[in-house]
């Protein structure tokens, strides 16, 4: 009886931990999950994982968070390995063998032993723990690459055409091992401190909830890969909005055609579709180092949406303005190198590299004012940090006067607006400013603000 109660408690704790990561799970799903556990049993951990994922999750993007939290709440073992801790050299030898054979079970076991033998730090209770960073730093699995490759070649595995793939494959295996070590270290710490705290702090959020300004390089790369799907979703939603907006005159020809199925009686009048008004869009992006992840992502998104607009023009600035529309070739092969290309091929910075909103906005109002018409919507992307120079409010007023709407998207949290050298509040008085910290927020904003 207590075992069942324990299991129920563990399941609800698990669900609670997932909820703190923004996975929306209702009571109904929790009950389903419990029924799934009852049907599947606890004998096979992999089956249990899939069963819970099927009942609790609703989206593909949540799986990463789910797996990490699952490993904390339903660990594959308790405590350390039973065997004596192995030395570093011995571990490296066995790791090389396992990598050569691509033996997943062995790699998992080695990760356990490695964390136990190399990852422990501290001795006083409360300050001690296990670190995956320290484990990997001492073990250096990446240096085994050459050894494993030579071993595989000697066995004749890498002959012919596929030989050139060998190194990348070994790299992926090593990467998988590093992930195993990270999971194991988290599990050991969670055993000491309780899974709630670790689940909250050490599990990375889903990509669309990562703050643009604090996202690491790999998270940004991951985010860029979501541009195409996000753009497609937004495009269908905008199209649906346009369709629903159809009203007005009756389309006689289509009404009569439709009436044939009701014996010539026009039961359902068909309304004439309105010609979709496709707006012109001008993007004005701060591409200085501090916000580059954000403006990159937004530029790519708007470019991917390009068939929704008659005209999209993109301007970039640091302390000078230049047009970069041409650099954003649709479906460009290398979105990652975008900001590098902007910096080398466009004149966005004068002799220093820190952003100056006043000068840049003034130059835009002066030189590119012709691009603005009463049908244009302008999006300004940037944190409005002027480095203590003049914010040049008249330029913003001039831009706002010439076009239909101006929206300012700011990647900083609202609480930080107007602090330090931020002129956000001054600009926000003139044009509507929106907080836009994550891909999720950006998606909702684009859908809401685009004048369709």
């Amino acid at each position: 009886m207590t075992a069942t109660a324990d299991l129920a408690a563990r399941l609800t704790d698990f669900v609670a931990a997932l909820r703190t990561h923004g996975v929306r799970i209702g009571t109904g799903e929790t009950v389903d999950a419990a029924r799934a556990v009852a049907v599947l049993g606890l004998a096979d951990r992999a089956v249990l994982r899939e069963g819970l994922a099927a009942t609790l999750l609703h989206e593909t993007g949540q799986r990463q968070v789910f797996d990490a939290v699952f490993d904390l709440y339903f660990p594959h073992a308790v405590g350390g390995p039973v065997t004596e801790a192995a030395g570093r050299e011995e571990l490296r030898d066995r790791l090389a063998d396992a990598l050569t054979a691509d033996d997943r079970a062995m790699l998992a076991r080695l990760a356990v032993e490695a964390v136990d033998g190399l990852g422990g730090y501290g001795s006083a209770p409360g300050s001690d723990g296990w670190s995956s960073y320290q484990t990997l730093d001492r073990l250096r699995p990446q240096t085994l690459l050459a050894r494993v490759r030579d071993e595989l070649r000697a066995r004749g595995a890498g002959t012919g055409f596929t030989d050139r793939l060998l190194e990348d494959e070994i790299r992926r295996r090593i990467e998988a091992f590093r992930a195993l070590v990270a999971v194991e270290a988290r599990r050991r710490v969670a055993e000491r401190r309780g899974p709630e705290e670790i689940a909250r702090r050490a599990v990375a959020p889903t990509a669309d909830r990562v703050d643009f300004l604090y996202a690491g390089k790999d998270r940004l790369a991951e985010l860029r890969r979501t541009v195409q799907p996000l753009a497609r979703k937004l495009a269908t939603r905008l199209a649906a909005r346009r369709r629903r907006a159809a009203r007005g005159a009756v389309d006689l020809r289509r009404t009569l055609r439709g009436s044939l199925s009701t014996g010539g009686v026009p039961m359902r009048p068909v309304l004439r579709r309105r010609r979709p008004g496709r707006p012109e869009l001008v993007l004005l992006c701060d591409v200085s180092g501090s916000v580059s992840g954000f403006s990159d992502f937004t530029m790519l998104l708007v470019q991917a949406l390009h068939d929704q607009f008659t005209k999209v023009r993109v301007f970039a600035f640091v302390n000078r303005v230049d047009e970069v529309t041409g650099l954003l070739v649709h479906g460009a092969a290398d979105p990652g190198g975008l900001s590098a290309r902007i910096h080398t091929e466009a004149a966005v910075a004068a002799w220093h590299g820190s952003s100056d909103y006043g000068v840049a906005l003034g130059e835009f109002a002066e030189r590119h004012a012709r691009t603005l018409t009463p049908r244009t919507t302008v999006f300004v992307l940037g944190d409005a940090r002027t480095n203590r120079s003049d914010p040049n409010l008249p330029a913003v007023r001039e831009i706002a006067r010439r076009c239909r709407r101006v929206h300012w998207l700011n990647p900083e949290p609202r609480a930080q607006w107007g602090t330090g050298d931020s002129a956000a509040l001054a600009y926000a008085d003139l044009v509507p400013m929106h907080e836009c910290r994550t891909a999720r927020q950006l998606g909702t904003l684009v859908e809401r603000l685009l004048p369709v």
Binding site: R24, G26, G28, E29, D32, R35, A36, V39, L40, D44, A46, V47, E50, G51, A53, A54, T55, L57, H58, E59, T60, R63, G160, F161, T162, R164, L165, D168, E169, R172, R225, Q228, P229, R232, K233, T236, R237, A240, S261, T262, G263, G331, A333
Partner: protein
């Protein structure tokens, strides 16, 4: 329908569908809990095939609703046969209106569409709602009643409840976010690209003429391509196509010329072809 997760894999394999553990577990749960199964994943990983395989295993009839923009109630649920009703009215000139009315709204004049078909009758059925994301939001509302209670309400006839619940599979390419209400009623399954070993078995099963070594190299090259961040990563369907092509070309091992000439089978964008050629060191064009 199934006794265990292993039973699911074994019986699906008999029909030629090799299921990953995730797929087998979720199908087993969908059967046991009696909930619809929502399958997402990239094109060409076998979402629709799964429904067909389940139907074959269960000896059930496959009822398919292909969704598209503008699919509506009369295409998905049911429709009254207007022409036949008109004929009936003009045939019975001497009847009173009440007699006619009860008569023309009877089952005889009802044209069942897939959703209603799946619910009526006692024989086992698998209902496949394909590309759910292509349908409009209104259709989702329609699906809610069908998927949660397995019943359909026809105002003139009353509510028709399923005597035997069909096994429901919905597929989606995620081109539109499905509503939370719909997702909530389903078990969720994401089918990604299979791991190397499973894909090798799939290739060997679908293209029997390919030997073990060639299948292994093909799968390894495809795996490398997927890691490349291309516009459209090759899917299982492309791997199988490629293996077939190689067989037709009479190639029994991979080499630069063969790969370069047949890269178009697996990659569908010119820039992807260029990028892959560069990364694979094919002496480019």
């Amino acid at each position: 329908m199934f006794t265990s997760v292993d039973d699911v894999s074994a019986r699906l394999a008999e029909t030629g569908y090799l299921a990953s553990p995730a797929v087998a577990t979720t199908v087993f749960l969908a059967d046991r809990l009696g909930k619809p199964l929502l399958v997402e994943g990239p094109a060409g990983v076998g979402k629709t095939e799964l429904a067909k395989a389940v139907a074959q295993v269960a000896g059930a009839r496959l009822v398919r609703l292909q969704c598209y923009e503008g699919v509506d109630e009369s295409r998905a649920l049911y429709e009254w046969n207007h022409a036949k009703q008109l004929l009936r009215i003009s045939a019975g000139r001497d009847e009173t209106w009440d007699e006619t009315r009860t008569d023309i709204f009877s089952e005889e004049f009802l044209l069942p569409r897939p959703l209603l078909t799946a619910i009526r009758g006692d024989d086992p059925k698998v209902l496949l709602i394909d590309e759910t994301d292509k349908a409009d939001v209104e259709v989702e509302g329609l699906l809610l009643e069908v998927l949660s209670d397995f019943q359909v309400t026809v105002p003139e006839l009353g509510t028709i409840t399923a005597a035997r619940r069909p096994f429901v599979v919905l597929t989606s390419n995620a081109s539109r976010e499905l509503s939370e209400a719909l997702r909530r009623r389903c078990l969720f399954l994401h089918i990604g690209f299979p791991d190397e070993e499973l894909e090798r078995r799939i290739v060997r099963l679908k293209v029997p003429g390919v030997d073990e070594a060639l299948a292994a190299s093909v799968v390894r090259v495809v795996g490398a391509l997927r890691a490349m961040d291309l516009r459209k990563a090759p899917s299982v369907a492309e791997t199988v196509d490629w293996a077939r092509t190689l067989l037709a070309l009479g190639a029994d091992t991979l080499d630069e010329t063969v790969v370069r000439d047949s890269l178009g089978v697996i990659l569908k964008h010119q820039e992807d072809v260029l990028k892959a050629s560069a990364k694979l060191d094919l002496d480019a064009l």
